[in-house]
Amino acid sequence: MFVGESLERVDALEKVIGKGIFAGDLRMEGMAFGVIVRAERFHARIASIDASEAIATEGVVRVLTHKDIPGANGYGVLKKDQPYLAAGYIRFFGEPVAMVIAQNERIAREAALRMRVDYEDMEPLNDPFLAAASTVNIHKGGNLLCRKTVIKGDTKRAEGQSHVVIERTYSTRRVDHVFLECEAGLAFPDQSGRITVISSTQNIHYKQKEVSRLLSLPEERIRIIQAPTGGGFGGKLDVTVEGYAALAAYLTGRPVMVRYTREESMLSNTKRHPLYMNYRTGAAKDGRLTFLEAKITGDTGAYASYGEVVALRAAVHATGPYQVPNVHVESSMYFTNNPVCGAMRGFGIPQTAFAHESQMDLLAEALCIDPLEIRKINALRKGSETATGQVLNHSVGFYDALKCIEPAWKERKKTGNSGFGLGCMFYGIGNTGVPNPSACHLTLMPEGKIGFHLGACDIGQGSDTVLTQILLETLGLEKNCVLLVKGDSDTTRDAGSSSASRQTYITGKAVFEAGRKLRSYLEEKGIDKGRSLKDICSEASGEGGPIFDGFFDPPTTSLDPVTGQGIPYATYAFAAHMTEVEVDPATCVCRVKKVHAAHDVGRAINPDAVRGQIFGGVAMGIGFALMEEFIPSRSKSLYSYYIPTSMDMPAVETYLVEDQEPTGPYGAKGVGEPALIPQGASIMNAIRDATGIRGFELPCNFERLCLLAEKV
């Protein structure tokens, strides 16, 4: 039995003895170091680049600009609009202009300071509303990246039939991922001229395609290997150092390391989108929601990255986990001269959860209904229809999650400065309304082990362990029978990105499929009749030996481009958090004391790992709600950008709801992002309970809260 057991992480041992070797720890004979020279301008034209002093520095190997790029100077998950090195035009503070390659890091960094770049500054557009109205276009096609709509029923008619309508506008700020390990990668050419990149990443096969475009080499000439990765949270989905390291290695013919400092990481990395959300929500006297209108405006920064994905996910999830018969959501993303916003844990939904959960509390207040009660009344359940018209037929554990926290909610005791708040969410697992497959394969190895070829990237969340558990359960074999061959584009198949909480569900199902094929093969070969695995392996392994592949693509449909109707996801995770805060009336400092977190994960393959995700999500939610705010050109490093410390963490009680998902491996769904999504919202509702003050802007640090208190 492996499923449902809290197995130790497969990589924990090496990490506790200090042998966790990350990309930045790698060394190679003849290794050079590359440093990116960045523009510290928001919006400008490059007048000139003078590299003479840098090149003259002893130990400098070469200086690269966009002219040196052999292939396409543009990357991006959907739109290839972000240049690796600026071609004359600067769109955000921190945009790469040139790259200095030198014998070692010190020389490279010192020479980079000697690069002279002259700019002609232009007026920056630092706000999406300004960008929307401006005649200056940041990109040729205009400043609107995309507009996504979800339309169902007739909201105008429903408004007339509503007992109460609440309209409020909410906003959130840019957030940095602050994975503890900054981006790093080592690239080197081999004797045949292939380029290998070993990097800290959330996806190898995608990066293989991007590097191939960059170097204008066929994909099979590029090999990407994932090094142990020190956190990702969406920030290592886009190309980070891989392109630069590969380019430098290709052009110089030697190994090149690119390892960002925290300052470089914060300058260059994508951020969580700031969203401005105008919500109008109506309810009948009995608390049933009648309609929801939302106008969401996002600042996607200088390049597209995952902006379109965030806009769409925000629109599809705008209602929260509730039945709303009439829905009209418009979600737009604008280019600005701000840092590129991309994927970050939750893809826009921690933001919309803040809005819809505040709205639920406001409705409850207006209707004199208990906040938990109004959520129960409207909760999505088996047979409910979502805003996109999808009927949920199975694995809808939201009501059960609410029931889990109900005792704590009913027993809550408000003392002087404390307050309690609820936050709920649903989250579609996997990509939205597009094919989103995972593949993996198994081989038999001569030493009598099963080769588990896994292209999924474990970025700390524990997918290696969880997927191994699924395989072992399927095979019914001992733990040490499996050898993980992972994270290498040469030896593994594309398992998609470690994003959208999809690895357990999608890759897990592919692993399950492959495992079943191998299981029947082993049975055929007599594993149950006393024949050893070693025996079977030695007969079958080697060149031309059998391969057992697994594949899964969750059943979804594309969404109607106008109404957004369709089946965007095969399954959803659900969660309800209840948070207790204490707000010091003298200082307005809010401390989170206790969190009750109930999650419908379908099936907890590894309950300790699920708990770990929830705890981490709670921490990130505290940062999102109370402290994190990335201000371009001012948030330079961790002294001017705060994430929670151990002292900021509350006690957390977890409740696992296991409403099994029939299409998932052993019923599992996902939890990575759901863990975070409701937390910020529940804190804001708790602050309101503690102080009588409702914040509409995140982060609600003591400064903002004090200003709100002064107004009252």
Binding site: E8, K19, L180, C182, G460, S646
Partner: protein, 152 residues
């Protein structure tokens, strides 16, 4: 250039170093102690935490010359004799490791705490690791691990 001599994980260590090198750089580049990680370089994350004369410090803000004549311990010290220290075992068992980048520094802070206080309270544990950021775990399983290790 200066010559420094110090105890590194219980053994004598010597190096000729440039004055401006940090202990972080010297440990990694001269002694291949790769458990000492850089997460920020400015003493705000704790990934580079080592013990200098038994007290946790940030190696990124400690000039290597300051280690001269001192005792330096890193995570490698904990399982030097080939067996896991109870803290390391507890970290593995309690799910205290996710991405693992903060882990070595976290272990050193926890180790220093347990050296000073055999059975720390929850508040002391919280405080003891407050100089080490972790973005994955929310600290809870780390604190559980320290508690477990303290009871051994």
């Amino acid at each position: 250039m200066q010559k420094i001599c110090f105890q590194l994980n219980g053994e004598k260590a010597e190096a000729e170093i440039e004055d401006y090198l940090t202990l972080l750089e010297v440990l990694r580049d001269r002694f291949s102690i790769l458990s000492v990680k850089e997460g920020c370089g400015i003493g705000e994350c704790g990934a580079c935490t080592v013990l200098l004369n038994e007290r946790p410090v940030y190696a990124c803000l400690t000039l290597a010359v300051k280690a001269d004549g001192c005792d330096v311990k890193t995570t490698e010290y904990l399982s030097k004799d080939g067996t896991l220290h109870p803290l390391q075992e507890a970290f593995v068992k309690s799910g205290a490791v996710q991405c693992g980048y903060c882990t070595p520094g976290m272990l050193m802070s926890a180790y220093a705490l347990l050296q000073e206080e055999k059975t720390p309270t929850e508040e002391m544990i919280r405080e003891g690791i407050s100089g080490n950021l972790c973005r994955c775990t929310g600290y809870i399983q780390i604190m559980e691990a320290v508690k477990d290790a303290s009871q051994i």
